[in-house]
């Protein structure tokens, strides 16, 4: 029950973000708005000390998706866990 509630909260958050920021507003732009320095530091850390390709190939596509997509993904994860547990029980 708790997991489904958390999932529902994430879905609600996604809806709020979609309405408030716009359905096409990118996740990266939302994070940048909250803390531009942190996103910049994350990029520098990954590109300079890990591999540039990791940033360009993995992070940028995620950051380029609509901002509401992240809470939807998290909500789906919680919903899936909840359903899996219910199936076992």
């Amino acid at each position: 029950m708790i997991l489904r509630t958390i999932a529902l909260l994430f879905f609600s958050l996604a809806a709020v973000m979609g309405f408030a920021l716009g359905w096409g507003y990118e996740l990266g732009a939302a994070l940048f708005r909250v803390n531009p320095g942190a996103l910049n530091a994350l990029q520098a850390g990954i590109q300079r000390y890990l591999f540039p390709e990791v940033w360009d190939g993995a992070f940028v596509p995620i950051l380029a998706m609509p901002a509401w997509g992240l809470p939807v993904l998290l909500g789906l994860v919680f919903l899936a866990i909840s359903l899996a547990r219910a199936g076992r029980g």
């Binding site: 990266g28 910049n40 590109q47 540039p52 950051l63």
Partner: protein
């Protein structure tokens, strides 16, 4: 008897390189350029050779010139990534045709083709120290012309107080532009007084060759007393204005990267010391100098500006 104290940039006649060696070196470099296969060392694609440029010995760097390979393969160019190994990717940036608009508060706004600039501007070579805000440095022989020569053509209005430099933004070529949340295009600026200073240099070449794209080709700006991020690369527009610009980095992290950004070893970056610098291509670490050692040329620009954040 008058006592004459030589200035830091002066060298004796005996130290000047003879003219036949200068031109001999250029010829040898020209022949050798085609043999260099590494992208960092290859001549800028599509760019014709530079006109002959004599070295201006007034700006002797007092340090060894960095190896060309170091200077052309260790690059900051944010449109291509925040890491240093962008030289290969940057080769995709077309260097011709290329124009630079100079507009805003000027009597005669103009759009210059890069080759017209090469033909008509007073081209010379200057060996400048380059100090990055990240506490590393190199010494590069740039070819170019004083910004003041370009401004003289367009004639700034008396009301113009700032000069704004805009870097090219080419989607599809510059992967960094996919990060739409950054405030592209890259904008930098300086005061009209700083722009008119004799050190302010429009760079069109390095190491006697056309400026490679990873270094900001075909044309970039350089003010050697400031941290390197102040120097816009691959410039497409210069605007004179009466409003102080908010630069790319100032929008992202204003507490770390400000408008003035003059080099000062005593004013640390919020996350690291600026007291010394790593010399790229060596294991050496040397003390950083106020105004990157160019104080005698520029210190008086900042008289009366003590209340400004001059060092960040």
């Amino acid at each position: 008897m008058p006592i004459r104290i030589p200035r830091g940039w002066e060298i004796s006649e005996a130290e000047a390189t003879p003219e036949h060696l200068v031109f001999g070196r250029r010829k040898a470099m020209g022949l050798g350029a085609g043999l260099l296969a590494a992208p960092g060392l290859a001549a800028a694609q599509g760019a014709p050779a530079l006109p002959p440029a004599m070295r201006n010995t007034r700006y002797a760097p007092g340090r060894d010139i960095s190896a060309e390979r170091e200077a052309t393969t260790f690059n900051n160019y944010y449109e291509f990534g925040s890491h240093k190994s962008i030289s290969r990717e940057a080769q995709r940036l077309p260097q011709r045709p290329w124009t630079v608009k100079v507009e805003g508060m000027v009597e005669t706004p103009r759009e210059f083709g890069i080759d017209d600039l090469l033909r008509n501007m007073p081209i010379e070579e200057r060996v400048y120290r380059l100090r990055c805000v990240e506490a590393w440095s190199m010494v590069v022989p740039w070819t170019g012309f004083p910004l003041s020569a370009l401004l003289a053509v367009v004639k700034p209005l008396a009301s113009a107080r700032f000069v704004v430099f805009e870097t090219a933004a080419v989607p599809g070529v510059m992967p960094g532009l996919r990060q739409s949340w950054y405030p592209w295009p890259y904008i930098e600026g300086c005061t009209i007084a700083e722009a008119g200073n004799e050190l302010s240099f429009m760079v069109v070449g390095a190491y006697g060759k056309p400026l490679p794209p990873q270094n900001g080709g075909p044309i970039r700006f350089h003010q050697p007393w400031k941290y390197g991020f102040k120097a816009g690369k691959s410039i497409v527009r210069i605007t004179l204005t009466d409003r102080r610009p908010v630069s790319f980095w100032e929008r992202i992290q204003p507490q770390e990267y400000g408008f003035w950004a003059n080099v000062n070893p005593e004013v640390s970056h919020p996350r690291w010391s600026q007291a010394s610098e790593r010399v790229i291509g060596t294991n050496e670490r040397i003390p950083t100098r106020l105004f990157n050692g160019y104080g005698e040329f520029v210190a008086d620009l900042y008289t009366g500006l003590q209340n400004e954040r001059l060092w960040a």
